[in-house]
């Protein structure tokens, strides 16, 4: 589903190279965890997948279902089924959350040649999704993410993911800022979406999240490269021994 080939990318503003020859393959139905120390390029990778223009790909390619996405803007990537759950979801004053959900869902439907959702059907879907994440509907009447706590923002990201039904879900440190109860709710939300035709890229610092969202593969990112790949036992090993050993092996 996702194939990243020898990817090199830098920050447009200052030319700093962050991703330096990254290779990664994620199959449909797979949950791949990306781990790595601070500054290894994890969040940058998520932004590049979503098409943020602050980064420039200088070499290599990203293939999604066999097609390069490098020329696609963020909206085109999203409508083709790529979803990024942000580490720090943006607060957008003045844009009502419900209105935003409706616009986003219908824009995606439009791109797929589907009719816009009728209001009752839209409301039904939002209510169901919100209930499954223990979210209060009153929250969704507020402007997008404005005044939401850290945990509420993360839930709102997963809510959007549920409603938009993407095929490639990139979760950027979705566990940060969550207490144990919220972590469980969010993880259950993600697990419920696991499907044979859907892949997940779960970016995290900690093994903790991976106890709830059990990965099929684990990849260690360091200095913009995947330096080691393995199964879920690799995450436990990292938790016990830190990154130093793996980094030493690779060097």
């Amino acid at each position: 589903m996702l194939e990243i080939r020898n990817l090199h990318a830098r920050i447009v503003d200052d030319g700093t190279e962050i991703i330096r020859g990254l290779n990664l393959t994620v199959k449909a139905g797979e949950v791949a965890a990306i781990m790595g120390p601070n500054g290894s390029g994890k969040s940058t990778l998520s932004y590049i997948l979503a098409g943020r223009e602050d980064y420039e790909v200088t070499e290599g390619d990203i293939l999604y279902n066999g097609q390069s996405i490098l020329e696609m803007d963020p909206a085109e990537r999203a409508t083709s089924g790529i979803f990024l759950a942000f580490q720090y979801p943006m607060e957008i004053p003045g844009v009502a959350t419900m209105e935003f959900l409706k616009v986003a869902m219908n824009e995606q439907r439009k791109a797929r040649g589907e009719e816009p959702l009728k209001i009752p059907e839209f409301l039904k879907r939002v209510k169901e999704a919100a209930a499954s994440l223990s979210m209060d509907m009153a929250m969704l009447k507020r402007p997008l993410n404005v005044g939401f706590s850290g945990g509420e923002k993360k839930r709102a990201e997963i809510l959007q993911m549920k409603l938009l039904e993407p095929k490639l879900c990139v979760l950027d440190e979705t566990d940060s800022g969550l207490d144990i109860d919220a972590l469980k709710i969010v993880s259950d939300g993600v697990n419920a979406l696991r499907a044979p035709d859907r892949a997940f890229l779960v970016i995290t610092h900690y093994q903790r999240l991976l106890e709830h969202i059990v990965p099929d593969t684990v990849h260690v990112l360091y200095k913009g490269q995947v330096i080691k790949s393995g199964d879920k036992s690799l995450a436990l090993d990292l938790e016990a021994n830190g990154y130093a050993g793996v980094i030493g092996e690779a060097a």
């Binding site: 909206a75 979803f83 990024l84 943006m90």
Partner: protein, 422 residues
């Protein structure tokens, strides 16, 4: 240099002075009213204000007003649907009031032309100081309008919409409203039409003790019209006035706002939205006098600038020496969407009292790239995402009005503008 040299008159100045001579016999009122008109045209004869006049620094009227259309008494204008269903509508069509005024319990409507004829309107015709070109122009030519009196204690459930609809040519109108003690009302001032017009419109309101008024100015002139307007208010003891101004049209627009708190506990809110497009010039100039102790005000103006549009907000707050415990805050935020657009902001605080809280702030920004990325990352295409963000920027000010029917009505006006200019 000879200080008394009269600069050569511009074609616009000449046209106005000639028009006064031609119209004189047709203008309602004699005696006291005619004396006011004579004084006013003298002001025009001294020349329209230039950028050397401080209050006109960013709007050089003498340079910008280059054509003055003739009066066109035969032009037809039609009343339009009010922005809020069920409003009581009073229209001025091509500068003329309607002989048939509505019947509304607790409210009396009078044609201003009648009050000019009997002279009772004369005391209100004085311009606002020597630089008041709009006041002078209006006093010289004003022919009609309405006088509205809302009796003490009357609480109106639906808005009163005062429509000033031009059909080209010149129109000079005046709306005077008294709101009695404890009365509550929403008043909509519609300024629109479809001609290449020059119009002056002066609104005056007095709020008696404890009155509460929301006054909405919805200005949607065509891009061929020059619209020179004034809003003057006196806010009495414990009275509350919210003035919402939406400028969404016009070629050359100046909306002046002069407000004075006259009783303790008076509160004033200004909420403004300027939606500026094309090759246009729009100026909102406010002078607020906190004239007595314990009065409060907040001013928030949001501007969206596209194309080659130019905008101005001047906000002057005078806190008089005796006006202790004044609390006044002013903000002007601009979203600049084109390289050729510009916006000038000039906040001024003149504070003669020593125990007050006063502040102001101004920002000019572009669309936040992070916000744009977030919306696009959810599949909203760039154009729609920009539209959502721009609308959000101004809708925030509307939503604060807290009256569902009004918020909906104004958002509909907003959507109309975005559909035409997005």
């Amino acid at each position: 240099m000879n200080m008394h040299a009269q600069p050569q008159r511009t074609p616009a100045e000449t046209a106005l002075i000639d028009a006064f001579g031609d119209r004189l016999s047709l203008l309602p009122g004699d005696g006291a009213v005619m004396l006011k008109r004579d004084d006013a045209i003298e002001t025009i004869k001294h020349g329209l204000p230039t950028r050397r006049v401080e209050s006109w620094h960013y709007t050089d009227l003498r340079r910008l007003l280059n054509t003055v259309p003739d009066f066109d008494p035969a032009a037809m204008a039609k009343a339009i649907a009010p922005i809020v269903d069920g409003s009581t509508v009073v229209s001025i069509l091509n500068g003329k009031s309607d002989a048939k005024v509505p019947v509304l319990e607790g409210v009396s409507f009078q044609r201003l032309s009648e009050k000019l004829v009997d002279g009772s309107a004369a005391p209100g015709l004085d311009p606002y100081g020597s630089d008041d070109a709009i006041g002078a122009l209006n006093t010289a030519f004003v022919a009609d309008g309405y006088f509205v009196d809302i009796a003490d204690g009357v609480e109106l459930e639906k808005p009163v919409e005062l429509q000033n609809l031009q059909a080209g040519g010149q129109t000079h109108v005046r709306l005077t409203v008294r709101v009695g003690a404890g009365a509550k009302a929403v008043i909509v001032e519609r300024q629109t039409g479809d001609g290449a017009a020059l119009g002056s419109s002066v609104s005056q309101i007095v709020l008696d003790e404890g009155a509460e008024v929301t006054w909405l100015i919805v200005q949607e002139q065509p891009e061929t019209a020059t619209h020179l307007a004034q809003f003057k208010a006196h806010i009495g003891k414990n009275a509350k006035l919210t003035l919402f101004v939406m400028n969404a049209g016009g070629k050359l627009v100046r909306q002046e706002i002069m407000v004075r708190t006259t009783g303790e506990g008076a509160d004033f809110k200004l909420r403004g939205i300027n939606l500026l497009a094309g090759d246009t010039h729009t100026d909102v100039t406010m002078v607020l006098d906190h004239a007595v102790p314990h009065t409060t005000s907040t001013e928030i103006v949001r501007n969206v600038v596209t194309g080659k549009a130019r905008g101005v907000f001047q906000g002057r707050i005078n806190v008089h020496q005796y006006a202790q415990k004044t609390n006044a805050k002013m903000a002007c935020n601009t979203l600049l969407l084109s390289d050729d657009g510009e916006f000038s902001t000039k906040p001024e605080l003149e504070i003669f009292a020593d125990d007050v809280i006063c502040g102001h702030g101004a920002t000019v920004t572009e669309i936040d790239h992070n916000h744009l990325f977030y919306l696009m990352a959810r599949g909203v295409d760039e154009k729609s995402a920009r539209g959502l963000l721009v609308k959000a920027f101004v809708a925030e000010v509307i939503e604060e009005l807290d009256d569902e029917a009004i918020v909906e009505a104004l958002e509909a006006r907003l959507d109309g503008w975005f559909a035409a200019h997005g």
